[in-house]
Symmetry: C2
DNA sequence: AGGCCGACTGAAAACGTTTGCGTAAATAAA
DNA sequence: TTTATTTACGCAAACGTTTTCAGTCGGCCT
């Protein structure tokens, strides 16, 4: 089977490769008559231009990369959904890379992306990442980058986030208003900027209500879920006075539910729980979980839009293009007043 | 800033481009001494080969495509996770395309992939797809394809699925043994092969237990979630004798939960529910949901492995390489006997 | 008639890499 | 010594596309 490319099309049409190429790109330099002929044969033979030849020649790949910790997480899944939508609308392809929150993997992925495989990058940094040299060095190759959710403060570019500080504040205040006095904060890794913001919101809400924050009530979760369950169990047993839990990430809220059931603590009578979560089934949990829900789809879509716009205009992305979308507090039974 | 490519490396090293290229690919045709020199400069300058030039020349992109209906679904998210893992291990990149169960989108995506952008394709067909000409035509370009979960029976290639018939049978039998006598089956679209298998398992289990299947109890869900809720509500009101629900897809199980709560039907006392689901929080629902859980991660990983093996060996993929992984039934309170 | 312009097309270079082939020197075999 | 063989490297073509440049042809203006 002869390959169907510009050359073969040109031969069959008794035209030059150049003319065929121009005809297909609808150039004004080619007569309408030949355009029609060319298009007819192209569709008849199911011609599709070779993406790599085109990318090589034009130095543009029409592809964006997405580097995220994981995909089996409703937040990131929704974000990808938004990203793919924005990309598709502009004719971009989406390459996915998972770091599994592992620093070494993130570095390897970023290094690989220097090969020019992508025109731009969307990134949510791994929680294990403390050194950002790899990202800076990628940025130095002039690759446009937009961070979303888990941003890297040290790199000057646009970031799409939620109002993490306010959300942490609101969640804590919500627990306080529901009558909690000893509120634990479960977060995942305090070197992540979002963790810090939420933590600060938590602290400020406590002091604003006349309470003194107790460092013993702040639990740093780890990667492994079972370990988290153990840590939470230990915390709840050591501090039976805890009457409220604010979980900065979905997984920890779920783990807290499991521990409470195991220890026989009733939700919300003994302990009230609120957590960041994009879980669709939150309202079906036992009891329905109060959540701070981030507009994950919009975050992904807006981040992709900013990136693609910059790629198309070949302009640098400025930190001033950053976007902060508001998350929403859904009050459900897990934080009902007694 | 001068570009760092083979040419610039060669100039600085006073070598030819060919030698530099061979040195980096560790060819035996180049002396160890020069290899060392070349590698040193390459790493010093952070050289990364241009992926598109390489792909064009070698006619290999080290990229696989993944075409799925959606990503905001725990099954597909886990599958992607497995796919990415297998791909990463073999140095492959993963392009993601979402069809949103829309036939037209699927066709457009498949057409686009003819441009040679990917070396192989993993696919779970859209539920709206009834004509498979686009897939066949893609297969005719010799692009290796492996289907997973939602397979296309008409295309001769490997398929990675779960034991859908047996699962449907088991789920139904499980409800029967829990005392149900009027069991509804909620499925998504009966033109999908998996729906048919599960439906057949459902039917056979009923007849095997001496019951006559009632077509009125089989509900075909649609895309829109709200419509599904309305349909289920209508069904439960029209047939108050229904005492068991088998949901072929997670979304329908969730919708059924909502409807039951709304109508005041107690689970499991009035109605028992079991559903296909990869929801992590299934055990935390109210009541905990009995599920048939597919090994989504493994499905993705195995499908990717089969695909990549075929790509590397440049051998056709045979239907005989198909794999059937077993799903697992988790019995929880939603199907507890009264 | 000469010059000019616009419409259309083709030749060829370029993108960065890989690779078949050639070749020179060095080594081994005869 | 001559003749193979090996080693190490360079030349140049090729992958399929895009784009610059040059060219042809007819028509229009002065």
């Amino acid at each position: 089977m002869t390959p169907v490319n510009l050359k073969s099309l040109a031969e069959q049409l008794h035209l030059s490769i150049a003319t065929v190429s121009r005809a297909l790109r609808d150039s004004h330099e080619v007569s309408e008559a030949t355009k029609v002929r060319v298009r007819a044969l192209a569709t008849a033979l199911n011609y599709e231009p070779n993406a790599y030849a085109s990318s090589l020649r034009r130095n543009v790949s029409k592809t964006i990369g997405v580097v995220i910790p994981k995909v089996a997480n409703h937040f990131f899944a929704l974000a990808i959904n938004g990203i793919e939508e924005a990309a598709r609308q502009s004719g971009y392809h989406v390459l996915i890379y998972l770091t599994h929150d592992d620093y070494a993997r993130e570095v390897a992925i970023v290094q690989h992306l220097k090969g020019g495989r992508v025109d731009g990058l969307l990134m949510s940094v791994a929680s294990g990442t403390e050194d950002f040299a790899h990202i800076k060095s990628l940025k130095d190759t002039n690759l446009p980058i937009v961070f979303f959710d888990r941003v890297c403060a040290e790199v000057a570019t646009a970031k799409v986030t939620t109002n993490d500080y306010e959300s942490g504040y609101q969640a804590t205040e919500h627990l306080l208003q529901a009558g909690c006095r000893t509120i634990a904060h479960l977060l995942i890794s305090n070197n992540l900027s979002i963790g810090q913001f939420r933590q600060q919101g938590y602290l400020d809400a406590l002091t604003a209500h006349g309470l003194t924050p107790d460092p013993d009530l702040v639990l740093n979760g780890v990667m492994d879920n079972e370990q988290n369950v153990a840590l939470i169990r230990e915390l709840l047993q050591r501090r039976p006075d805890i009457d409220g839990i604010f979980a900065s990430v979905e997984r920890l809220a779920i783990s807290a539910y499991h521990v409470c059931k195991e220890l026989g603590r009733r939700i919300p009578e003994d302990i009230k729980i609120i957590g960041f979560s994009n879980l669709e089934a939150a309202s079906l949990l036992d009891p329905p979980l109060s959540t701070i829900t981030q507009p994950a789809y919009d975050i992904g879509r807006e981040a992709a839009k900013i990136l693609i716009r910059a790629v198309e205009k070949k302009k640098d992305i400025l930190p001033s293009q950053s976007l902060v979308l508001n998350s929403e507090l859904f009050q459900r039974r897990s934080t009902a007043s007694n």
